[in-house]
Amino acid sequence: MCAQTAVDRKAEVWTRLQTVTDPELDEPVTDLEFVTRADVDADNCVHIEFRLPTYWCAANFSFLMADDMRNAVKKLPWVADVSVVLGEHMYADKINAGLAQGLSFQETFGAEADGDLDELRRTFLLKAFQRRQAALLAHLIEAGHDAARLVEMTLDELVDLEVDDAGARLQTRYLERRPVVADAVATSRAFVDADGEPLQAETLSTYVRALRRVDINAEFNSALCRGLLHARFDTETPLSTKAGQRVAPP
C-alpha cells in the first residue's frame, strides 16, 4: 500500500467515525474527543482506541459506542477487520474481551446486564429526534414561520425551505433523525411527534416548550462530560492521529 493510500484510508476511517454519536449527548464521538487512535495497518485492519470522561461511565453506553464504531468502519469496502479498544475504564478488560470475541453486550456481562442494546439505542435515537426537532422548530418559529404552515409542511417542502446558515445546520441534523419515528418519503409530513402523529398548530409552542426539557438533560450531560474529560485527560493538545491534523507516516 502506498503512503498516499494509507493516508486516504485513515481519513476515510475518521469520516466514518464522525457518524457515530454518544447516544446521550447526540454528538459525534470524534468531536467529543473520545477517539484517541484510528490506524490502518498493512493488512487493512483498522485499530481504534477510545476513552471516556470518567472511569465509571455506564458500561452499556460504552459498549454501544464501541459497537457502533466497529459497524460504521466495517462499511468501508476495503476494511479486513476492525478492533476497538476502550482505555481507563472500570470495565475496560471485560468490554475489550467481549468486543474482541464479537460478543453482544448481554453475552459479555451475562446476568449483570439487563435490557438489550437495541432498545437503548432506540430510546436515545428518539431523544435525539426530539431534541433536534425542538431546536429546528424553535428556530423556524423565531424566524417568523407560521405554525399552521409548519405543521402541514411536507418533507420535500422542508428540504426546499429557505433558511439561514444556522437553520440549515439544524435542518440537516433534524432530517438525519426524522426517519426514526415514521416513514420519511418526500410527501410525508416534515414534523410529527415521537409516535409519528401530526402536530397541531394551536399547541405547537407548548409542544416545543415541553421538548426543551429533553434538551436540558442533554445539555447537562454534554457540559459535564466535556468538562470531566478535560479534567481527566489533556484535551488541549491535538491528537496526532486525527484526520486533517498531523498525520503520522504509515
Binding site: 470522561p53 465509571w56 455506564a58 449483570e112 446486564a113 429533553v214
Partner: protein, 347 residues
Amino acid sequence: MYRTANGEEIFVIDGHTHFWDGSPANQKNIHGKQFIECFYAYHANLSPPSEKWTLEKFEKYDAKTMHDDLFVHGYDDMAILQPTYLGDFYKNGFNTTERNYTMKKSHPDRFILNSAFDPRDGDKGLEALHANCEKYHVKGVKLYTAEWKGESKGYKLSDKDSYKFLEAAQKYGIKNIHVHKGPTIIPLNKDAFDVGDIDDVATSFQDLNFIVEHCGLPRLDDFCWIATQETNVYGGLAVALPFIHTRPGYFGHVMSELLFWIGPDKLLYGSDYGIWTPKWLIDKFMAFEIPEEETKETGSVLTLETKKKILGLNAARLYGIDIEAQKKKIKEAGGYAHLAGSVHAPE
C-alpha cells in the same frame, strides 16, 4: 448567615455536605482511587479557578477546614451531613455516619446528622438502622439506589425490601429520605437512577418527605413530572448549582423550569461540600437573576423571598428547625463573632 445590604439576615441550611476520607491510605483498591479522582474532576471542572483545591487537600480535609469553609468563610448556618459508605472501595468507608458524627459531636448546633440504609442488608441492616436512630436521633437518611452490592447493581425504592426499611425508618422517627438520583457513579444500566420509583413510595408514604438529590439530573423532565404529582417530593440543588459559574445561562434555564414545575417551596440548597464550597456558590446565587427570555416563557423569577426559601426556610421546615432559637444558640456559642457588622451584598 448572609446579610443583605438592607440588613436582612438570611439563615442558610446546607442540605448536602460530607466529611470524607478518600486518601490513598484509606483506599481499598483502584476503584477507591478512581472514585475520589472522579469527584475531584467534578470539583476542578465546575469551580472557579480561585476556589480550586489540590487533589491532596480534596482527598482528605480535616474537621477545622470543613467547619471554617462552611460557617466562617462560607454563609452556612447549619449543614446536613449525608453519609456515603462505599465499603467496597474504602477500608473504613468513605463518609460514614460514624465519621460524620465526629463533626456533629464537636459542633452540635451546626450539624444535622443523617444516616443511611440499604434494603439489601436484610435483618442485619434493619438492626443497624435501629441502632443508628437510637444512638444519633437522626431525622433523615441518604440512599444510593444505584450502589452496587455483590451481584446486585442497584435497587428500587418500590422493591418489597425497600418498603420494609421505609416502614421501619418511619417507626424510628425518620422524616426525610434523601435519594441520590443524579449523575451516574457506576451503573451498568442507567435504570438505577430512574426516578420512577420515587413516585410509587411518595404515594405510599405520605408522612415521609422524599428529597431527590441533584433533581434527577440528567433526567430533569421525569423528575419535574413526578414532583408536580406528589406533594411530598422535593428537589436538592447540589450539582445543579455550581453550573451557575461555568454555564449561568443553563443554570437559569434549569431554575426556571424547576420553579415553574415544582415551585419555590420544594427546592433545597446544597453545596455538596467538599466538592464545592458555600462561599462562592451563595455569592453567585444571591446575585443571580433568571434571564428575561426564560422568565418570559415560564414566569419564573428568583425573588429574594424565593432565595430565602431555597437557602434555608424549606430545609428548616423539613427538619423542624426553629430558626430564631437556633440563631440564638449559635450566637451565644460565639458562632457569629466573625460577622461583626458585615454586609454581604444584594438588596
